[in-house]
């Protein structure tokens, strides 16, 4: 079980690092619509992640 949490945590870190890299490199090229949809997806991603951990009992 602990190993599962470690893997999930590692995966989340990789996801955040990936988004951070892409945001730093390419956010300036995004259109206004692209930026808005990206913002909504980011909010949705963290909201669903929160619900997932809530379901796990955190």
């Amino acid at each position: 079980m602990k190993l599962e949490y470690i893997l999930i945590g590692f995966g989340i870190l990789l996801c955040l690092a990936g988004i951070g890299y892409l945001a730093a490199e390419y956010v300036k090229y995004l259109s206004e619509t692209g930026r808005l949809v990206s913002l909504l997806l980011t909010v949705g991603m963290f909201a669903f992640l929160g619900k997932y951990f809530e379901g796990l009992g955190w």
């Binding site: 996801c15 990936g18 988004i19 892409l22 945001a23 390419y26 956010v27 300036k28 090229y29 995004l30 259109s31 619509t33 692209g34 949809v37 990206s38 997806l41 980011t42 949705g44 991603m45 669903f48 992640l49 619900k51 997932y52 379901g55 796990l56």
Partner: protein, 162 residues
């Protein structure tokens, strides 16, 4: 099952984010202009054109040559072809055509175009007393880029080797 659903939704949002960055942020045709700013060389990147057209300008001394370099980055899966025409304007009137050239850039490659503006040719009557502004318009297909160039008088002429 409901717990996993939230995890899948999280992953879907993440994949959507990556897809937007790739399709909207990376893919496309992007242009960069390198221009003189006195003795330095500056550049305007694809996201800076609007800001530049409103607030900033290139600078060159009268009597010197202004070297411009225009780079087109084709981040598409197909060859990009367009006609690039560069002209100098002042008071909404065309002063002269500088270059007009058809370019064809293979997929995920870059193309470059260079030109020189001889400032003495623009104002053959002599150096302007208080500076002089003109506009360089770059037309690439239906896209038009503008850059204002400020020509200033040199107080003294530096003679190389003197």
């Amino acid at each position: 099952m409901r717990k996993k659903l939230f995890l899948y939704l999280t992953l879907a949002c993440f994949v959507g984010l990556i897809a937007i960055f790739i399709v909207d942020g990376y893919l496309g045709v992007y242009d960069t202009l390198y221009f003189p700013m006195g003795e330095r060389e500056e550049k305007i990147e694809a996201d800076q054109w609007l800001r530049w057209s409103e607030w900033e300008r290139a600078e060159v001394a009268w009597g010197e040559k202004a070297f411009f370099s225009y780079e087109v980055d084709n981040r598409q899966f197909s060859t990009y072809s367009a006609n690039i025409a560069v002209s100098v304007w002042h008071s909404k009137e065309k002063v002269r055509d500088l270059i007009s050239q058809e370019i064809s850039i293979p997929a995920f490659d870059k193309g470059q175009l260079e030109w020189v503006i001889d400032t003495t040719g623009l104002l053959p009557g002599g150096a302007p007393e208080r500076g002089y502004e003109f506009t360089v318009i770059i037309e690439r297909g239906e896209i038009e880029r503008k850059i204002i160039v400020y020509m200033y008088p040199l107080p003294t002429k530096i003679v190389p080797g003197a």
